[in-house]
């Protein structure tokens, strides 16, 4: 079996969510690597959009920020941010958005604003950036986050980006379509129950036990009838990630899960 890091597994799993023709709103780190991996492996016609305004990017190096100049050079279009949000995102052109955060709760709501009280924060986080609008307006959202009682609480301290709120039909009732579809952590992969809209564990990463994951989740975890094992990244995937996407290991060594 190939040797790989958990982050590489997450990247490989996230890449499987993308298909040719998808228009993908990309963030930095695991999402960026996943999209670039999918692009090289099986999704040739995938179109990458960064909130900085670069569309159809072909980065010749690993972008360090979502506004890296390598996203501009050779791209298909570079547009004002007004167009990114009005025409592309609100206009319904984005198939998949990737999001992370400090906390994700039982119903897929994301917090990237504060830990503790908003007025007297224990930790002040960066805030929404474009996350709230991606969560509200992309057709589909895939979330990546580490798996712990701190990062997966039953309820987030602050809803920066709406998932299914308190579950059931509440998101639709507020006039929002789409919503989170998959959560990929360093321990497993979750989908959402179509009725309750609660996170449901669908696969465990190799070597992770159900007990471990239960000990690291902030609520009594529901699991799929048949728990699968998350597929390992192929040797080719690992080669691409290490040799082509992140040769200096900027995201995948320093931040290995």
């Amino acid at each position: 079996m190939a040797d790989y890091t958990t982050s590489e597994l997450m990247v490989s799993r996230a890449a499987k969510e993308l298909k040719s023709g998808d228009v993908v709103f990309v963030g930095i780190g695991v999402p960026s690597l996943a999209v670039n991996l999918a692009y090289r492996m099986h999704a040739k016609d995938l179109c990458m959009i960064y909130e900085s305004g670069a569309v159809g990017c072909v980065p010749t190096r690993l972008p360090i920020s979502i506004g890296d100049p390598c996203l501009v050079t050779g791209s298909l279009a570079v547009v004002p941010m007004l167009d990114v949000f009005n025409l592309y995102l609100q206009g319904g052109k984005i198939d998949v958005g990737f999001l992370g955060g400090a906390q994700v709760d039982r119903f897929g709501n994301i917090n990237s604003t504060v830990i503790g009280d908003y007025r007297k924060p224990k930790v002040r986080l960066p805030g929404s950036g474009g996350a709230c609008e991606i969560a509200a307006l992309a057709k589909r959202v895939v979330i990546t986050i580490s798996n712990s009682k701190r990062t997966l609480p039953e309820k987030v301290d602050f809803v920066t980006s709406p998932g299914y709120l308190r579950g059931g039909r509440e998101r639709e009732a507020l006039g929002l379509q789409g919503g989170p579809d998959l959560v990929i952590t360093d321990m497993g992969v979750y989908h959402f129950d179509p009725q309750t809209r609660e996170l449901v564990l669908e696969s465990l990463h190799p070597g992770i036990t159900l007990e471990t994951i239960r000990d690291n989740t902030g609520w009594p975890l529901k699991t799929a009838p048949t728990l699968k094992e998350t597929p390992e990244p192929s040797a080719e995937e690992i080669r691409i990630v290490r040799d082509e996407l992140d040769p200096q290991g900027i995201f995948l060594r320093s931040r290995a899960g």
Partner: protein, 297 residues
């Protein structure tokens, strides 16, 4: 006009100041001059405060910040910003928080002289519960209710660009950000550029002009004026600087040392640039010229 004169004449204590540029073309040279001239009680607005506002906060220029993402892109938190919010150091910092989309719409509403603009965004987020400026409007064409953000009208907007003519007709390529909208929304506009070019260069490609001279108060030639951010076609982003900033800014002393050496310790951007000549050369952009187009008829 020199940066010293432009900031001296057009940036005043208590102003609502916008220095835009989304990772690209961030007007750091102007920010340093504002610190040198000790402006106080500023309200700063910007999607991503970035290192430029972290420095202004640490220097004690800032009373309030209006923003949507306060981090060190690709690195981590903004330490001076967090010290101000969490501990009131060097002084309490009032914050007014939106999202990127919301900030873009605030600038566009201001530029359009409208009181507000609507969006389908914001159902379900707690941001609307902590910021009373998010308000709802009912569509006159259906029963839909939409969230709105109010127009933002800056006192002064400062942008950096690749080139402008001496009248301030300003051209940008690469990432546009929200500079055009912020400039049109603003009472005063300062443009700092890598290069002042003859009007005939601007007129050879009028579609590239994003800010017309008619709304510009001052044009400042300021090569390398966006470092450590980047200028497409001129120099790359100084990612090492952004990583180092995490250490430099972790404690007040380190940050003060930086400001003493690189802001107060130099008279202007020219001296700053000279001081890091080798770094500048390392960041020099390679040439990837576009295919020219024909404007003839």
């Amino acid at each position: 006009m020199t940066m010293k004169d432009a900031v001296g004449r057009f940036v005043r204590d208590g102003d609502l100041v916008v220095m835009e540029g989304f990772t690209h073309l961030i007007p750091f040279a102007a920010g340093h001059e504002i610190i040198r001239q000790k402006r106080r009680d500023l309200t700063l607005a910007r999607l991503t405060p970035d290192l430029i506002y972290d420095q202004l906060i640490a220097a004690g220029c800032v009373k309030k910040m209006i923003f949507s993402w306060a981090g060190n892109p690709g690195v981590g938190p903004l330490h001076a910003f967090r010290r101000a919010v969490e501990k009131g150091i060097p002084q309490p910092l009032e914050i007014e928080e939106y999202t990127h989309f919301g900030m873009v719409l605030r600038f566009m509403a201001g530029a359009s002289n409208l009181p507000f603009l609507p969006t389908r965004n914001y159902p379900g987020t707690d941001l609307t519960t902590v910021n009373p400026n998010f308000r709802k409007v009912r569509s006159p064409y259906s029963d839909e209710e939409l969230w709105c953000v109010p127009a933002l009208f800056p006192d002064v907007t400062i942008v950096h660009a690749q080139r402008a003519d001496e009248d301030g007709n300003t051209q940008v390529w690469g990432l546009y950000g929200v500079q055009k909208e912020a400039a049109f929304a603003s009472k005063r506009v300062i443009v700092t550029v890598e290069e002042i070019v003859p009007a005939k260069v601007i007129r050879s490609d009028p579609n590239r002009t994003i800010i017309p001279g008619m709304i510009v108060s001052a044009v400042v030639p300021e090569p390398f004026g966006a470092h450590p951010s980047f200028v497409q076609g001129a120099y790359d982003r100084d990612n090492d600087f952004y990583v180092e900033w995490d250490t430099v800014s972790k404690d007040e002393a380190g940050l003060k040392k930086y400001l003493d050496e690189w802001v107060h310790g130099v008279p202007d951007r020219a001296a700053y640039t000279k001081k890091m000549q080798d770094r500048r050369e390392a960041l020099e952009a390679d040439r990837q010229m576009c295919e020219p187009v024909n404007y003839g008829f």
